[in-house]
Subunit: 310 residues, 2 copies
């Protein structure tokens, strides 16, 4: 098992998009710039969707224009369609993250497309990114890869079929997304092992949610299966409208903390990441679910209670 | 890896002891009786400590006298000393759970004893339980086995030395306790493997806290190492006075949910456990950290949003 993993920070997109309050553009830029300095490998900075669909990210172009790009950090933009892809390419995103669902119902509810319709559209988008010099990276995020809140279990064979079609389109990477936190460690290990074995050339990323508390356990199982790329959201922001009250994405600082405690290098400055996470409540107007920020790192020491002699 | 694990419910003791509000004796009894019906293998029902030290559990004898014993459930009482052991034996506890710390400072702060002093006391307590017919089971819970909030890392050799001495005293079981949530999955796997290899006759239990979000990941690592007994607290009650704001023990219903989703049998009726967890906020006067109660089980289904046709 590898001792080096890469953290992809998705809070600016997957976290902020469902917040009830619009985070001002300059605050988004400051957040991304702070994240750039922490050592994360990639930042999903925004989403080029219709401002009507996701008003919180209506400032996608301004955000991409305002951030300070740092060498070694990949700036990713999520794109749902051709119009979004064109805007994202114009913004200079290093990578387009195309999005589709593994289940029909989630695809129809979220994108008005079945997986098969999404794959047809992707075929048209690939040349857009490939014809640029240098070519822009292409990733696809496969929602509900571990289960759908409408359709229930998603057969692994279906996920493997979709991943094979994505690979055949020539994408650089695929993210398996546990969109509503339905995955368990056994399932994560099995599916990741199969994808890695079949597509060694594909950059596999695990995108986990902590809806039912299994976020870090699933990350552990993914790592044991050979996954080295993990999406995570600062503070554990994000979540799913279908699991009210539940926590959101797996929390970046908690994930980095676990890996580093295990002796697995993330390349991330955990203290800097925690300081950035501490700014989130002021930004979004509520407490965040991340636990290491509240409890302190495992190496935190306390003074002996008064009157105790060693 | 075994497909059957045993859940030891500790909320009535480890959860309620640090609550700011005294839970009335009849409510404690009702909680334990409800837990008895869920299929957990053991319930740590109370602690026979000084009422001055833990006023919330001052009704230990009344609780033990009031509960309905159910076949197949072991009723455990925590005891810190000889006086507590005598009271617990008089109450008819099926098992005495002796407590000591792996680190000097935590032992002195919590029990006014170093581990070595605790071991000397235990030698005096063993005959008390053994001379009964039938003999009462004896377990020792080893606090700070994965790290101490005062002393920092606790060398595995020290933990193994203490466990060997506990085994030599003839105890039936030992619980390795991550008292303040400092353990990581790598560490849990390594230490549990070593204890299991050296003491196959000893019933090993893992007692985990979710202070830094790693509770379920650590349980997974323990299970992978061969552990089949897990302490857990309903609702994730409990915690540590040294990690304010952090969540407490690993949450019973979240742990059962993870195992059952992985195809590992717990013997627990998860729905009954969740219904019991839902009564906790009324009992303790605050929200509980458990996540499955909020999000619903992974097999929860949602209706398709209006206007989406399949």
């Amino acid at each position: 098992m590898t001792r080096r993993v890469r953290i992809h920070e998705v809070a600016p997109r997957d976290g902020l998009q469902i917040e009830s309050r619009f985070v001002p553009t300059e605050d988004k830029i400051a957040l991304i710039d702070a994240l750039s300095a922490t050592g994360v490998a990639a930042i999903e900075a925004t989403s080029f969707t219709s401002p009507k669909a996701i008003p919180n990210l209506a400032d996608a172009s301004e955000v991409m224009a305002g951030i300070q790009r740092r060498d070694g950090v990949r700036y990713v933009a999520l794109v749902p369609n051709r119009r979004g892809a064109e805007r994202a390419l114009a913004s200079g995103a290093d990578e387009l993250n195309l999005v589709l669902s593994a289940s029909d119902s989630h695809g129809l509810a979220n994108l008005r497309m079945t997986p098969w319709q999404s794959l047809e559209r992707f075929a048209e988008l690939v040349p857009l990114a490939r014809d640029r010099a240098p070519a822009t990276r292409l990733n696809a995020s496969l929602s509900t890869a571990f289960g759908c809140p409408f359709d229930g279990p998603v057969p692994p064979a279906r996920v493997l079929d979709i991943v094979a079609r994505l690979a055949a389109l020539g994408l650089d990477g695929v993210s398996l997304c546990d969109t509503t936190g339905m995955a368990n460690p056994h399932q994560v290990g099995e599916l990741c092992q199969q994808v890695l074995a079949r597509h060694p050339q594909l950059d596999l990323t695990l995108h986990l949610h902590n809806t039912r508390g299994m976020g870090l356990a699933n990350a552990l199982a993914g790592w044991q299966a050979g996954v080295i790329r993990f999406d995570a959201a600062l503070g554990g922001l994000g979540g799913c409208p279908f699991a009210p009250g539940a926590t959101g994405n797996v929390c970046s600082e908690d994930l980095v903390h676990m890996f580093e405690e295990m002796g697995i290098t993330t390349g991330v400055d955990l203290d800097a990441l925690m300081r950035t996470a501490e700014t989130l409540p002021g930004l979004v107007g509520h407490e965040i679910p991340g636990q290491v920020v509240r409890a302190g790192r495992a190496d935190r020491r306390y003074p002996l209670p008064a009157g105790i002699a060693r």
